[in-house]
Amino acid sequence: MTMAAPVTRKVRERRETRQVLYVRLAVIFAFVAIWEFLSRSGWFFADIIPSLVSIAQALFRLLVNPAFWANLQVTLLEAAAALCIGTIAGVVVGILLGANRFLGAAFEPYLYYFSPTPRIILFPIMIMWFGVGLASKIALGALASFFAVALSTAAGMRQIDKVIIRVGRSFRATPWQMATKIYLPAMRIPVLTGIRLGLGNALITVLLAETKLSNQGLGYMVNTIYQRFDIPTLYALLIIVFIIAGACNAVLGYVARRAR
């Protein structure tokens, strides 16, 4: 009798897992079928909805093209540099705002309401300040990631257990020791959450800036492919960019889970 309930639950869970798989397969199948139907229907101009086979071929061509890897390298370099700068600045500002209640009350609302505004519109200013090369994209990406990290760090700073802070002070820790031994380890989770959000912001902002004005990077590739009207390759490139963004997000999510 006592064994019956867990067994029934297990059977039900297994059945539900199978049903979830079927639903997912059905959705994928429906998507593929509708796509192929639209592709062959003639309702759209040729190539606007290319067949999935031609997208797969374009994907393969893209992956064996050295120019793709060179552009990918540029974009990742820009995003990484932007994230580093944005994270360092964001953690410093976040600690200051989180540690001092008055500073937090004075400046955090401005950061909070400024953070969701569309950052890409600052690109003309970045071009004027840093030129048309990589630096302007890095600066814009850094700005995009800064807000997420700063706000997350400030919130994390306020959540630190006061006892830990008192322990550090009772050991007469220097400000540097307090920052590296007490504050940062205690608020690693919110900082990592901020970095995760910041990475997404930095990557998309860098890519968009590249589509606007650049001569290298994946955003530049998106733009040139669009101008050539090579739609299968455009789909293929966007699929790759989405996968890269998802992978970056998943890796940082994994790191954040490990840190708990």
Partner: protein, 263 residues
């Protein structure tokens, strides 16, 4: 005694919400004044950074000559069209995912992945599909703003307090009555949080795409002025867009707080 009296007088002022905010605003003004001085004495380059006084003066010009009000109307129309479409599709989709648990388990992660995907980057593709017009902007904003509304609707319905559901069951409510009388009202605060997030994404997408494609409202204005190398105008229009966006977010947040149940 005097020190204590002064401290007593000062404490309430610094403790108010407005005093730190005013200090923050004055700091921003002070930074503007420092830039003005540095630019006037030639430490900073006036071709790269315009005088803050010129930027302030440009506000009047962009309102009078660049049709900021009409452009704000165009952008607002696009944001609201996409935003209401997100609600019209997102809330029923969220209800559907809540109602059918298998569907939720199968698709919720995919919807979350959609929320994190850089959809705006696909704007060339949307232009191919929907042409170079407002429709493209609205569709991109819709795609960008949909996921948070779906996810928060599911979350809100799932987190309905069991005591409320039990009251509904004890009154023998039908499934429709249970939804309209218990589940949906209880989920409204969470749904509105989703709407706030979704509409924020819509604003980002609309202004961003207008700027990138040089099409439509306020985003196009920034692009136009930058291409004309009208630096004070560019800075003023960016400031205007940031200000308008901030007011929009503050209003959304205010409504969201108003909808939260009293604790």
């Amino acid at each position: 005694m005097r020190i204590a009296a002064v401290a007593e007088r000062r404490a309430p002022l610094t403790a108010t919400r407005w005093f730190p905010l005013t200090v923050g605003a004055l700091t921003i003004v002070a930074v503007g004044v420092i830039f003005e001085v540095l630019l006037r004495i030639g430490v900073l380059n006036r071709y790269i950074i315009p005088l803050p006084s010129e930027v302030l003066a440009a506000f009047e010009r962009i309102v009078a000559e660049e049709g900021v009000i009409e452009r704000t109307g165009t952008s607002a129309f696009e944001v609201l069209s996409a935003g209401f479409a997100c609600i019209a599709v997102g809330v029923p989709l969220g209800v559907l995912l809540y109602r059918f648990n298998i569907l939720r388990r199968a698709l919720e992660d995919w919807v979350a992945a959609l929320a994190a995907a850089p959809i705006v980057l696909a704007y060339p593709l949307f232009m191919v599909l929907f042409g170079r017009g407002s429709m493209t902007v609205i569709v991109i904003a819709f795609a960008y703003g949909l996921a948070p509304i779906v996810l928060k609707t599911v979350e809100g319905l799932s987190e309905t307090r069991s005591v409320l559901v039990n009251v509904g069951k004890s009154l023998n409510l039908s499934e429709a009555q249970m939804f309209w009388k218990i589940l949906f009202p209880s989920a409204i605060p969470s749904i509105f949080t989703g709407i706030r997030l979704g509409w924020t994404f819509c604003v980002i997408a609309v202004i961003g795409v207008e700027f990138l494609v040089n099409l439509g409202g306020l985003g196009q204005l920034i692009n136009d002025l930058a291409e004309r190398y009208d630096m004070p105008g560019t800075y003023a229009s960016i400031g205007f867009v940031i200000g308008i966006s901030m007011i929009f977010f503050i209003i959304l947040e205010w409504v969201e707080k108003w909808l939260q149940p009293a604790r």
